[in-house]
Subunit: 356 residues, 2 copies
Amino acid sequence: MRLVDIDDLEAITLGATLLGTGGGGDPFIARLMTHQAIEDNGPIRVVAPDELDDDDLVVTVAVIGAPTVIIEKVPSGPEFVAAVEALSSYLGQEIKAIMPVEVGGMNTLIPLTVASELGLPCVDADGMRRAFPQIEMTTFTLAGLSASPMCLADEKGNKIAFEATSNQVGERLVRGSAMMLGLANAIALYAMTVRQLKEAAIVGSMEYAIKVGDLLLAVQRNEPGSWEAFYKFTEGRTLFEGKVIDLDRRTTTGFARGTVVIEAFDETSRTMRIEIQNELLLGIEDGRTVITPPDLICLLDHETAEPITTETLAYGQRVRVLGLPCASEWHRDGFLDVVGPRAFGYDVDYVNFGGN
Amino acid sequence: MRLVDIDDLEAITLGATLLGTGGGGDPFIARLMTHQAIEDNGPIRVVAPDELDDDDLVVTVAVIGAPTVIIEKVPSGPEFVAAVEALSSYLGQEIKAIMPVEVGGMNTLIPLTVASELGLPCVDADGMRRAFPQIEMTTFTLAGLSASPMCLADEKGNKIAFEATSNQVGERLVRGSAMMLGLANAIALYAMTVRQLKEAAIVGSMEYAIKVGDLLLAVQRNEPGSWEAFYKFTEGRTLFEGKVIDLDRRTTTGFARGTVVIEAFDETSRTMRIEIQNELLLGIEDGRTVITPPDLICLLDHETAEPITTETLAYGQRVRVLGLPCASEWHRDGFLDVVGPRAFGYDVDYVNFGGN
């Protein structure tokens, strides 16, 4: 067990923002919620799956919506507890632990807050170890687990429980209702036993986020060898460095979509185009696809090494494009159907970035 | 108690079609379902509220969607039972009787079918005694009852349970999900005790539909004095007779909307315009509003006296426009907020058609 205290929040938040790959909502908002929860209830217990009973029921909890909306309509808190309690009541079963569905973006910190408020531990595991725009895009789906029943709640007291015939159908239904409720709601989903979790989840993703956050903090402090340490641990590399010369963003059908074009500092004829669907998804350098989902594209401010979210992207920004390989748990049969480029509607082949 | 047998279906269906005021789905499709249910399970028990215990739980069940879609995507049946069972399970309570939410359109016959399949009685009462396009437009809402929890089900096995902060919000949420599920789904809602039902429902609406159907059958058979008998019982009158000269229909945001213009047989300078939102809602004669919701506008074929639904409306049709006063139960404090013309977005005053 690890106790997450207020001192840990800086690294977790930074790691979560990086793994948000430009999306996943602004973790700095969630950080305020977590900070308050720790002040109210003390340090938060983060446990390994082995510390729980195999039959214990675990659920994931998240904010769902478009980051562009979430940043303006800050989740207020009680709707997350309401969503978890609605799911527990719907199942008629007691929930023993909370888990993030994605360690990446604000959905890294929200489960910590909810765990604290419910007096439950948070499991050090998730279904993405990054952010993805759709709720079915998890290693849970890959392992054949159902996201349903899913409980959606808003800050006004509206609650909706879904039982969908597939996680893909469930995503469409939940997204539709979230649009009706204002596009920034709480959802509890993927109820599973610890036994199922051990098979299906990416274990250790919370620790991974903290470690990545610590390493990036060292980079930001310009510590010697910090970039090398970061690259070594993440097995990532810098893909491109340049200036934002074109930016197109729009919020449609419940998603923040867009395209950003970056021009190299040194050679103005070299450009990288990144396609956005809540997250940075596809990296195309001079017409050649160089990185695809589920591998990670992260944008950093070139001077401060601060991660840039798609909402804060701006024309003229000087940026570094990082590529990180996805969690090895993704490399299982059928993963491209769940999170490969074609799952996002991009007609390109997967580029095996990490060499897995 | 009345036993509804196959012989009763002609009058019920005709009465339901008339009270559908052009909408409410095509009852002839529902009639096939009810016919099958009676063949399978015998005559259907229709009971007065007094025949049940005051504490018995009653729920309404309906098809939700746009009539233009429902006519092409015939409800298959099991989803209605699934919706009721999901609601029972959600409440953790046994349901003792089924009730129509609207006696008008196919939602008159579907509750009979569901009652038959579940081996339950159907209560002779409803919340509209006509069809309305939105689920909150009931005397139940007027009496302060909540439509939630509401359970939506489709023919594929998807199920959604809603707890909305108001019946108006609930309508929007359900409509949104119904659009996602293909716009012709089953919904169970307005769970209430018989005690509440007695206060809030329009009692006797099923008998009313049968009686109206019988009277219209007599008209169709050209029996002497049949129109007089029809007018006497319904307190209605013919508002206009003429030919359809303009027709505009579109399915948008989950509703079939449109406008029909009828030109008088005798004087071509006289026209009546009727505004449609699933149902025929507003009658305007030569620029003067002559009938408004909740009173009923019914279109009949001028020769056969067969009710015309908005889907079967056609250019050149020769029609009779009937006006019928709504059930007297509507004339309670606040009814215009729930079903007056402004509740449909029409900026006109209520015309007290029935003189209540």
